[in-house]
């Protein structure tokens, strides 16, 4: 399958008063046209920064220090700012968490969608307005005329997220980055939003990168999953495999932490905290929390190795067990 987006060795650092923080450390993964890729990890694991880096939206004091982001064949990191703008919103768009704050409070929601048509499609004001209403209807907003004239604070959270999705999909992008799109929404609304995303993704043929800390959501909608820990990618697999046979100790811990209704077992918290990303030690960043830690883990960073078809993992312990072949 052709890769729509191919991220290779992407690294993002933040310069702080205390020193350099490696928020994203040599992350590589691919996104295929039309698929939904989940990115999971605890907060602070670099998921969001990763997404922002794809769009080159990391703001100082953060900066992209290396790697490639190939999208439809061209490396986004080498484009001019002007060329990049033509990518953002038009070919790759993004849905943010907390939809209420992601909408401009002093512009009507209609205006916020319409201006994208004007900007990226060169639509006239009138035309843009018509397409906005269409878009609002498509994301399932009743009374689009009235809603278009309203401000973010007048809409419910779910409705705001629908508006955000409308904005993101307005210009039929090839790739949609959705950063925790259901945070703060109650469960039934969240389900509706996810359904809508999946549905629209399918209909427009856009690939979706779904960033979340909720494995339940992943199980629900994703085709494949990448697991991030402390700025590093630790495991990539299709969704079935990941839940059935997680290889990385961290992934295993995550999977175990999913509350199960069918099993009356208390959820197991992952021991330890996300390690500081401030000048981290050279080895595996999970070493301090890992039940299967080896000496080598603290010295050397494990490489991402193919463990099975559609299944890659970065772990010395797994490698030692010989279950993997060099990719």
């Amino acid at each position: 399958m052709t890769e729509l987006l191919e991220v290779r060795d992407l690294s993002v650092q933040f310069d702080t008063d205390e020193g350099v923080v490696e928020a994203v450390d040599a992350v590589s993964f691919g996104v295929r046209a039309g698929e939904i890729l989940g990115v999971v990890g605890e907060s602070g694991s670099g998921k969001s920064v990763n997404a922002l880096a794809i769009l080159r939206l990391v703001r100082p004091p953060g900066r992209i220090v290396g790697g490639q982001v190939r999208f439809e064949g061209e490396d986004l990191l080498t484009l001019s700012e002007e060329e990049m703008r033509a990518v953002r919103g038009a070919r790759i768009s993004m849905v943010f968490q907390s939809p209420r704050t992601a909408l401009n409070p002093v512009l009507t929601v209609g205006r916020q969608i319409a201006r994208l048509f004007e900007l990226h499609r060169g639509a006239s004001r009138r035309d843009a307005r018509r397409r906005t209403l269409e878009m609002l209807t498509r994301v399932g907003i009743a009374e689009p005329e009235r809603r278009a004239r309203q401000y973010a604070h007048q809409l419910s959270g779910g409705m705001c997220q629908r508006v955000m999705i409308a904005m993101a999909l307005a210009t039929s992008p090839r790739l949609l980055l959705a950063d925790e799109p259901t945070t703060g929404l109650d469960v039934s609304i969240a389900a509706q939003v996810l359904e809508l995303l999946r549905d629209l993704g399918r209909r427009t043929g856009a690939a979706i990168v779904l960033i979340t800390h909720d494995l339940g959501v992943v199980a629900e909608v994703c085709d494949r999953v990448t697991v991030m820990h402390a700025g590093q990618l630790v495991e990539v697999a299709d969704v079935r495999t990941l839940f059935a046979r997680p290889l990385h100790p961290y992934t295993q811990a995550l999977v175990r932490a999913i509350p199960r209704i069918d099993q009356d077992v208390a959820m197991e918290p992952i021991p330890g905290a996300v390690p500081s990303l401030l000048m981290p030690p050279p080895g595996c960043r999970y070493a301090d929390r890992c039940p299967r830690v080896l000496d080598v883990c603290r010295r050397e960073r494990p490489a991402l190795l193919v463990a099975a078809p559609e299944h890659e993992v970065a772990c010395h312990a797994v490698e030692r067990e010989g279950a993997v072949a060099i990719r």
């Binding site: 933040f14 702080t16 008063d17 205390e18 004091p61």
Partner: protein
Amino acid sequence: MRWRRLTGNRLSLAALCGILLVVAAALLAPWVAPHDPDETDAEATLSSVSLRHPLGTDIYGRDQLSRLIHAARVDLLVALSATAIALTLGATLGALAGYRGGWVDQLLMRAVDAIMAFPAFILAMGITAALGNSTANLVAAIAITHVPIYTRLIRGEMLKARETEYAEAARTVGNRPRQIVLIHLLPNCVPPLIVQATLAMGFAVLTVAALSFIGLGIQPPQSEWGQMTAEGAGYVVSGEWWLVLFPGLAIMATVLAFNLLGDTLRDVLDPRMRGVR
């Protein structure tokens, strides 16, 4: 870590050093000043910058450097005592209003509103004019105009804190109201208070200076920077530039230092204003 952020920034480090320098000069004035600040010298009136008088002399032949150093005492004392009084009074009233609520709150807040209805300097001007311009009255005037800042701040924090779970928790654990206020809530208010007080120090120095200019400041022969600048301003035209330049610089540097420090403290201590990382 906070300390590092404070000193890490070169500008705020400079500000901190400046303040320490002024404080040291004020504390050690009698030992570091090269001359008696009140010693007149008919032979050396209005002499320019020289080795003997590094910042020149005034119309009475008094050494300006020594006067500036001694003046630092007055300025810092006025600013510090005004700020301390305002802070104590304002915080107490704010805590009272915030905790008791009801008519106490209403009454206090209306009084605070009435004071706040005056621009601070105008009220300070009115009060000094009414009470007469002694150092104590100056302190009182500035303190009164600053009280509302702290009252409002503390009351706001209190109202917010009252709602938070941990005040609730403290109450359920059985702490008595006063204990709740002191042990749990006030520490929460301390960072914004420090920020406000630092900024207020600078403002107080400036208020004294401006009051001096319109003739309501510190009484001579006690020297005070604002009054020295105001007096020195008259000498610009006759060429005795050192009389206006140095006291003006002293005020500017000190106020600047307090403001910069206040700004940095705000960034560091006051989470609401802290830049998102």
